[in-house]
């Protein structure tokens, strides 16, 4: 159903002035003077995914690997200490034994938790990578679903295109469209760049 705001309403008779030449000149001059250096790339974004993954991996290794033997050792020490104390303080034994058992139990639980964290680390990495990659998802709008694979493909082909490999980029794009049955992409890869990567 078309609402009055979604249908193409009659345009209001508002003025449509062109951008003044003085502004054009100043803006273009500014843009030329401040053009990013060739080869410069926003370092924050390209290494963010790798950095996030590395951080998670480091934290997982730091927590799980060194603590596991330490915790096992600590649990053993506590058990040994308890054994040593037993003959000397029989009257205090029930409470001390309970405490040592509780500590050992906590130690064992932490070891198990660490092992579980280690097992889950790859999943956590994948989650972070997904979130970072999500930043690159474009709004394809209309009937075209926003899909990371499409964006990645377009960026890859844009790179190819900008290296002068225009025919290869177009051929690659044709194959991509053929593979992507229901997708409604522009036939020309250049149009796709203009539409989605402008």
């Amino acid at each position: 159903m078309n609402t009055d705001s979604e249908s193409k309403p009659e345009r209001l008779p508002l003025p449509s002035p062109r951008s003044p030449e003085s502004v054009d000149k100043r803006v273009l001059e500014f843009a030329r003077d401040h053009a990013p250096r060739a080869g410069h790339r926003n370092t924050r974004t390209w290494w963010a995914g790798g950095m996030a993954t590395a951080c998670v991996a480091m934290v997982a290794v730091f927590i799980a690997a060194p603590e596991q033997p330490i915790m096992e050792e600590r649990a053993r020490d506590m058990a040994t200490a308890q054994e040593e104390r037993e003959p000397l303080a029989m009257e205090a034994a029930p409470r001390a034994a309970l405490s040592a058992e509780a500590s050992a139990a906590v130690g064992v639980k932490r070891i198990e938790a660490n092992k579980a964290a280690e097992r889950n680390a790859p999943a956590a990495d994948a989650q972070i990578e997904t979130e970072v990659a999500g930043d690159f998802i474009l709004d394809f709008g209309g009937s075209i679903e926003p899909q990371r694979a499409h964006v990645a493909k377009l960026l890859e082909l844009h790179e190819l295109w900008s290296q002068g490999e225009k025919e290869a980029a177009q051929a690659n794009w044709n194959a991509f469209i053929d593979d992507c049955g229901d997708c409604e992409f522009p036939a020309s890869v250049e149009d796709a760049f203009e539409t989605y990567l402008e």
Binding site: D4, S5, R11, G39, N42, R44
Partner: protein
Amino acid sequence: MLAYRRGDADAFEHLYQRHKDGLFSFLFRSLPRPALAEELAQDTWMAVVRAAPDYEPRARFRTWLFQIARNRVIDHWRRSDNSEEPLLDEPASHDESCTPSERELLAAVAALPQEQRDALLLREQGFSVKDVAAITDAAEETVKSRIRYGRRTLQDWLEAQQ
């Protein structure tokens, strides 16, 4: 924009030529004086240039561009504490650049609440309701409602003029 980010200065000119008039029209219609529209158009494009090194295609360029421009318009009204907002019966300052009927219509547009005015003017630039919602950071239903009320107010005003 990606080409410009890689250092291709000509790519920016291509982009600028394509969008400059639409952006200027939007600012011209949103602000009470052409000089202000010129200032904010320049400011908007300079913001685009400054953002180029960090640019990532997260939305259509045009949507992003108008989002920057609209923020500049809002900042302008905040800075001036609405003191420059013309009233409906005040003469607009577009004297030389508009016909009398255009001036009157601009004055009527300026008298709309800002949210309605922005939604209506963005729609006039050919943006979809979805795009207007993205630019104005509002729900689509809210945008539809703003456009409907704004348009009705203007139609009433136009009919009253005839």
